[in-house]
Symmetry: C4
Amino acid sequence: METQVAGETVTSFPEHVLHEGVPGNYRMAAFSDGVFAIAITLLVLGLEVPRSVPEGGLLALAPEYLPKLAAHVVTFAILGIYWVGHHNMFIYIKRHDRALLWLNNLFLLFVAAMPFPTALIVQYGNDRLAVIVYGSTLLLAGLSLELIWRYATYRRRLVADNLDPDLITFVHRRVLLAPLVYLLAIATSFVSIAAAKVLFLLVAVAYIVPNPLDDYHHRQFREGTGTSE
Amino acid sequence: METQVAGETVTSFPEHVLHEGVPGNYRMAAFSDGVFAIAITLLVLGLEVPRSVPEGGLLALAPEYLPKLAAHVVTFAILGIYWVGHHNMFIYIKRHDRALLWLNNLFLLFVAAMPFPTALIVQYGNDRLAVIVYGSTLLLAGLSLELIWRYATYRRRLVADNLDPDLITFVHRRVLLAPLVYLLAIATSFVSIAAAKVLFLLVAVAYIVPNPLDDYHHRQFREGTGTSE
Amino acid sequence: METQVAGETVTSFPEHVLHEGVPGNYRMAAFSDGVFAIAITLLVLGLEVPRSVPEGGLLALAPEYLPKLAAHVVTFAILGIYWVGHHNMFIYIKRHDRALLWLNNLFLLFVAAMPFPTALIVQYGNDRLAVIVYGSTLLLAGLSLELIWRYATYRRRLVADNLDPDLITFVHRRVLLAPLVYLLAIATSFVSIAAAKVLFLLVAVAYIVPNPLDDYHHRQFREGTGTSE
Amino acid sequence: METQVAGETVTSFPEHVLHEGVPGNYRMAAFSDGVFAIAITLLVLGLEVPRSVPEGGLLALAPEYLPKLAAHVVTFAILGIYWVGHHNMFIYIKRHDRALLWLNNLFLLFVAAMPFPTALIVQYGNDRLAVIVYGSTLLLAGLSLELIWRYATYRRRLVADNLDPDLITFVHRRVLLAPLVYLLAIATSFVSIAAAKVLFLLVAVAYIVPNPLDDYHHRQFREGTGTSE
């Protein structure tokens, strides 16, 4: 049996290799949602309440707090992107095995760590290392998410037998785009820290605006072949 | 096909426009519940344990802590109102698409941020800016919730085909009431900070007492046309 | 129609009054579980890591930390008791309305607040006010839980039509026992703070050991009339 | 009726003793997932953002932060192991009673406590007591997990009637391995603190690599006798 996966011919593999793992991703999803919800909410602890009010009231602190607030909102958006990506990926991943649980835990390690680099960049936004730590954590989160998709779709291991090869490729490309920009941002930080920060902002904007994957979901569902969570 | 939506005639729209999005809001609800549960519980961290006991024991700190406690309880109630509103709204929203996920994330951004303005108002309750930041975050949360309802019900995009137009209007009005009062509270803070605080308290009271929406739910359910979560 | 509720004759009430509320307590349970999980885990933040090591190493801090640890474990157990009580209660509560949502939020207000009085008693364990604040928060949590049961079972409003009146009474008594002891502990604190603390410990022990309710559950289930979550 | 449980003959026990407890472990799983998600995410609070930047920028802090980061990652992995173990165990545990709820709460007590010993070992990594407290908390978590399995499988109390005795034994051995190594690590710390730390790392590595239990799951599922969550 030969299958066309994203343009390259896959050599035949026996039926019993397909569909490994056990079904029921419920608790993995619940655990992941919990970690995301906590990490995204703990970000706020990085915005420390000022210890004392300066002359002129709290307003005098605005120049200090506005960039902190911007870093907070961008990180919230970026974590939101990863949550949406994880959510969409698990519409198609139907089963799990130990390896997937651990790839998921690897992804969550970087998600759960985000309050630290975010607090770092909020407080020391002009230090290159803060930008590099921030970008690297996001980069590693993105690569872990790509590993999840690669592992789950390899020979349709944990997805539906007839999952559209075009969709598999499309998700690969879409998931890899963000880490690529984060890598670029890290490199850019050696030239200009401000430019690196703009790149993080661009990722947030680029992923939040509508894109073809939505249309695919809708079309699939309307054609009666789509899958719900 | 013409439909009466809240009194105004909606121009005909083709069937395939109806029912967009994919069903299964489970993980969005779980993620939202998680963020709410964490934000509402993190509020308590704003009530810092005193670093030292004054002469006369902890009781001497009561005048300092009672207003802090009041701010804590009112914020808990206001976040509770938003949770109940979100919960009730998603009794009717049956599907989701990427836009809804992001409108929901926008709403959660403001919900998750609440521990910060709450700690601010707990600590600097007499600073006008603290009141404005507190009121604005709540205002933006309320407007985001309204956006969710507007997006989901526009041409019955993500709700049931036959959802009662009166219910749609009723929810719009009810959801918009709170942000309106928060706007009023912000304006009032320029005259009297104490009066502004009373308005926040009023919102908590007004939303917690019973209201016609409950009767609607019950009546619908008894008539066999109601929808459960 | 006359029903015997816990020995007293209930006057007849029309059928349509029964079974108010909408079914589907799922999100209320998820939100509650989230608040419990966070409150019970945030307790650990009250055990602050020492800022510096004294001469003789960390071991020299044991006399300071052992009572803190004891307070932590007892509070964990007491919150665990409330979670188990809430969980068992919602085996029988089948529907909800706005009032129940808010009684539940009231209960969660006190549950979510617990890290504060716990940190207070951990740090100022010999201050009477710390004991009173701790006991009062638990007392109010217990009374809220009783209110939930009273509201839900009144004329079988939100429970099964044929729910055993003996069970209703049994749960009332069991739920009210703890607040009674907390009230006693508060009163005792005016005589002896140590004795008051022993009472908190007693509650933890008394509720964790097996009791007749378990047998009831099992018997019901084996007889095929029991209800699962 | 005689059953072979892991090689030893179990004396006959009457049918009605089998299958105690009530089905529906949903909320226990949700509560546990919540505590795990929070504990594993709170770990990050142990990595405090530096209060000031030394000369030479943040990079000068790397020698201080790298071991902290290592402790963070190893603890994340070890908690991940316990979560995976708990998740796998509850594939087989089908019912619960009060005793199981409390054994589970006991397990969660130690899981939820982990941010404290982790912060301790992150900050005072060369203090023997820090290593002992860290190891003991993990040891007690492991023993509690073993108690859950022992209680649930004793005479198939809360598991399927026909659960493979080999699986029961296999899980016992696998669950007990970690606490054994933690005990060894505690003992080793009296000789060499560094060696003790290597043992914690070894546990993380040993449990994350693939193992026969996965094969069992897959085989069972393919044979149509496997159980999903």
